[in-house]
Every structure is written in C-alpha cells, then in structure tokens.
Amino acid sequence: MSHLQTENLTYIYGAGTPFKITALDNININIEKGDFVAIIGHTGSGKSTLVQHLNGLLKPTDGKIFLDGENIHQSKSKLFDTRYRVGLCFQYPEYQLFESTVYKDIAFGPTNMGLSVTEIDERVRKAAKYVGIPDEMLSKSPFDLSGGEKRRVAIAGVISMEPEILILDEPTSGLDPMGREQILDLIKNYRETTGNTVIIVSHSMDDVARFATKVIVMNDAKVDLTGTVDDIFENSTHLQDIGLSVPQITEVFIKLREKGYPVSEKVYTVEQGYNELKRLFEGSVNND
C-alpha cells in the first residue's frame, strides 16, 4: 500500500465563474515510505497547488487523497491529523516567523498539537539540531537573524511537528550558492537520520538531481513525467522545452548529441560528464 496517494485529483480555481482556471488536472501520484521525491515544474505548472492538497490545506474540486490508505477529508479530525503528519514548509518561510524568540517559533507547531512541555522542549531542541541552529540562538529574536538562519529556523518550525512526510516548497529560492548547499545538505541529513519521506518542490533539476529517488515533472496542471532521475534525464531536451532549467553540464551533452556524438542522455553531474567525455576521447583515439 502506498504511503501517500492521489486519485484523479483535480482542482479548479474560481469554479463556476468565467475566470475559472484548472490548476490541477486529474493527478495520480504514488509516494512510498522513505521516498525522496522531487516535484519539478515552472511557475504556474500546478506544483505548489498540488502540495497544498497533500496536507489538506486545499480541498480538491474532484478526486481523493489517501494517507496510508485513508481519505484525508474523511473527517475534520482526520484532516487536522494530516496537517501534523504531512508537514508543509512554504516558499520563503522566513516571512512567516512571528514569535519573540526562535525557541517559541519552533515550538508553535508542537504547542498547537497539544503536547506536554517536556515533549515540546525535546522536539524543539531536536529540530534545531537538524537545521544547525545552536542552543544559544534559541533565545534570540528570529528577526535579528541573517536570511539563511531565518530560513533554517522556519524549516525547524515544521520539522518540530515530527511529520512522517516533510514537504518543502522551493526551499533554496533566493539563497546564494553556499546557503543553497547548506539547506540541501540539512534536508539530506534529515532524511538519512529519520528515514522519513521528503518531498521537495523546485523549478530546477540542479537542486534535486543528486538526491531524489523519484521525480515528478509537472506541466500545465498535469503530471508530465514520473520516474527516477535517470528516467527523467532521458528527456532532458523536453525539460528545457517546458521551461525548466537543467544543469549546465546536461546542456553540454544535449549540444554534443545534436552534433552527432554518441554520448549518454543521463548526464547531470560533473563527474558523470567527465567519465562520459573521457570515454569519448579514448574511444576516438582507439579508432584512429
């Protein structure tokens, strides 16, 4: 049985008005326990709308969402339960910080869950550790932190609910290369330590190609492709066509293929590119 599943999920904004927009069109996805899923799509492809359905924030116009086989809209309590079990961290989450201290902000979720003080304390410290926020920072005001720190505090605010599935919408947007690496590393570590399911939403294959076990490509309110990273990169030209960025290295190999060289379609890291080109150069030497 799959962990999280959608069945013919459809969502229409402004249904019944002349301005209606189909944001999701008959989406069927399956996510297994422990998956590291990347949902890729350009702005407006429906990817953010999709994840807001997965934790029950938005109610589908049509279709169902199942968490461990149970419909999340079955009852009100089930729905609240889902919000805690499927943690969703929004884009630019630092703009939602509000408490007087970092500690209290991270504790907001667990407090809403009605946990005991000791349990909350344990979770806050654990979450802070996952995102690399040192103890002495917990008593600071979140508004005094740097941009990257704020982002990590905000992510901790979702992790502290200890969700079985952690969803992050564009977690690296607006960050510089170092900040981006930090966030991706902490997500990777979090997943390895907890074994929890993680879903990352992004418009760049760059961020996720190295980690994802499963990729869902969205385009025009529909699921365009699903598969492993390798499967997806077999269609790298198609990714560019639908407005997604692929790693620079992938572009190099797309162009080499266009020139007629027999190089692999599944190149997305510098190492892969290096091996592939070495093969090519040695091959041509041998042929001579």
Binding site: H42, T43, G44, S146, G147, G148, S173, G174, L175, D176, P177, M178, G179, H203, S204, G243, L244, S245, P247, Q248, I249, E251, V252, K255, L256, K259, Y261, V270, G273, Y274, L277, K278, L280, F281, S284, V285, D288
Partner: protein, 283 residues
C-alpha cells in the same frame, strides 16, 4: 572619466542597539567603472555587494572615502537629483519597486518626478517598455504579472529616466528560470544596444559570465577584479570564498588535468562544446 568611482570607501550600518558598533559592510573599497562597461559584482550574501548599489547613487553616504558619479561627489546634496538621474538602481524584489497601479503609469513615475514634458514622457515610456519587451502589457495592472515581467517593468521605470548607468541588485534572485532568462536578455540589450553602463550584482555564476568584467567581493572587500576568463581561471580561490565555478569550467579543468588539450578560457556551454568538437575532429 569614470562614470562611478569608489575611492577608499568604508561604510557601516548603525545598530538598533545603543552602544553597539557594527563591523563595516564595505571596507577600504576602491573601484572605477568606465562608461559603457558591463560589470558583474559577485559575492555571497552579506559580502557587502548590495551596500555598494546604495552607495553608488547616494542612497547611502560613505563613512570614509568618497563616491564620485560622473565627477559629482555623492555627499553634495545639491547634486542629489542629478546623481540619481545618472545612476538608476533596480532592486531584488520587483513587488516593492512598483508604485502605480498601471504598468505605463509606473514607468512614467521617474520622468514625472523629473518634471519632463508629457509628450516626451510618453515617448520615453513607450521606448522603455519596448526595450524590455513589455509594451503590450502597458495597460495591465502590475499584480497580475509574473515575477520576471514585474522586474522588467521595474527596469523600464529606470530606463525611462534615461540614466547613463544602471545598477541591478540581484534582480533575478527571486525569479524562475524563464523570468531569469527574460530579465537577463533585457539587461544585455541595455548594454549592447543602448550603450548604458551596467553594474550587475548577482551570485549566479552563469549570469556573471555574460559580463565584460567581474568584481568579486568577500568580507566587505574587493578580492578579485578581471575578465570572466581571468576570474574563473582561479577556481580554487572562487570556491574558497563560498562561490561556485560554472560546471563547464570544472569539467574542462578535470579533463585538462588528464592531458586532454582543452583551451583554458572556456566559459560558456557553446565554447566548451565547440572546443570538444574541434579536438575530437582533429584526432
């Protein structure tokens, strides 16, 4: 004469707390930007690069040293409007730069403040919107546009003041790939077709390589200054200050170490592909 000249500039922000003195955001910084140049300023967050944008048109004033805009010292208040008209600044968040509720009325905001004749404003607004490819959206409300479109409107709002230099402070940081590409194209057009001096602050390497010159900031200071090829040739130094080297450079580096005779000034994807193609054909 340089269009912008930083002479030994030091600047620090005031702390909210009393008695606390913050470390300088920019320290002993000297740089001369010539007319018509396309300069990229690279640096990670907090390196002081955004402060430069505000110092360059008198939005902030240096604590030590001076900033000259076309020979005018930014400290002289009587030149303030002239300085701001000479050096326009576009910021990161497009939402917080658009004042009016209609695209063309927003673009007209700058020239209107300068007291320019209505017919001339009309001409400038139309031209500016055409330059950034937003002319057909001139009657739209800005809130209905995408991030990349809003940013191009913000750029048009600056072009309409007909500045000789435009500074863009991470204009693509909040955009998706399509938005970034469109904004990048508009910026290149400003420099290549209109001859406007462009100072482009970014942390995206792929974008920085488009410039004629790259200035690297680290820890409030200038640490590197040269053509993209010169700067990226020192990959280790770039990486040591927390920045990336374009993947093409990394790849070429690795292959060269194996004795494959790739040129050592390859930056763009096309250059690398061409060079590989040449080598393979030659063999």
């Amino acid at each position: 004469m340089a269009i912008i000249k930083f002479e030994n500039v030091t600047f620090r922000y005031e702390s909210d707390e009393e008695g606390v003195v913050l470390a300088p955001a920019v320290k002993d910084f000297s740089l001369s930007i010539e007319k018509g140049e396309f300069v990229a300023i690279l640096g990670h967050n907090g390196s002081g690069k955004s402060t430069l944008a505000k110092l360059a048109n008198g939005l902030l004033l240096p604590e030590k040293g001076r900033v000259l805009v076309d020979g005018m010292d930014t400290i002289n208040e009587e030149d303030d409007i002239k300085i701001k008209q000479t050096v326009g600044v576009v910021f990161q968040n497009p939402d917080n730069q658009i004042v009016a509720t209609i695209v063309e009325e927003d673009v007209a905001f700058g020239p209107e403040n300068l007291g320019i004749e209505p017919t001339e404003i009309r001409r400038r607004v139309d031209n500016a919107l055409k330059t950034v490819g937003m002319y057909e959206y001139r009657k739209h409300g800005p809130h209905k546009l995408s991030g990349g479109q809003k940013q191009r409107v913000a750029i048009a709002g600056i072009i309409a003041m007909e500045p000789r230099c435009i500074i863009l402070d991470e204009p693509t940081a909040m955009l998706d790939p399509i938005g970034r590409r469109d904004v990048m194209n508009a910026i290149k057009r400003l420099n290549r077709e209109l001859g406007i001096t462009v100072v482009f602050i970014t942390h995206y390497m792929e974008e920085a390589v488009e410039a004629d010159r790259i200035v690297v900031m680290d820890d409030s200071r200038l640490v590197m200054d040269g053509t993209p090829k010169e700067v990226f040739a020192d990959a280790d130094k770039i990486r040591s200050i927390g920045l990336d080297v374009p993947q093409t450079c990394q790849l070429a580096d690795m292959l060269r170490n194996d004795g494959i005779k790739l040129k050592n000034d390859l930056l763009s994807i096309d250059e690398l592909v061409e060079n590989i193609d040449d080598l393979l054909k030659g063999q």
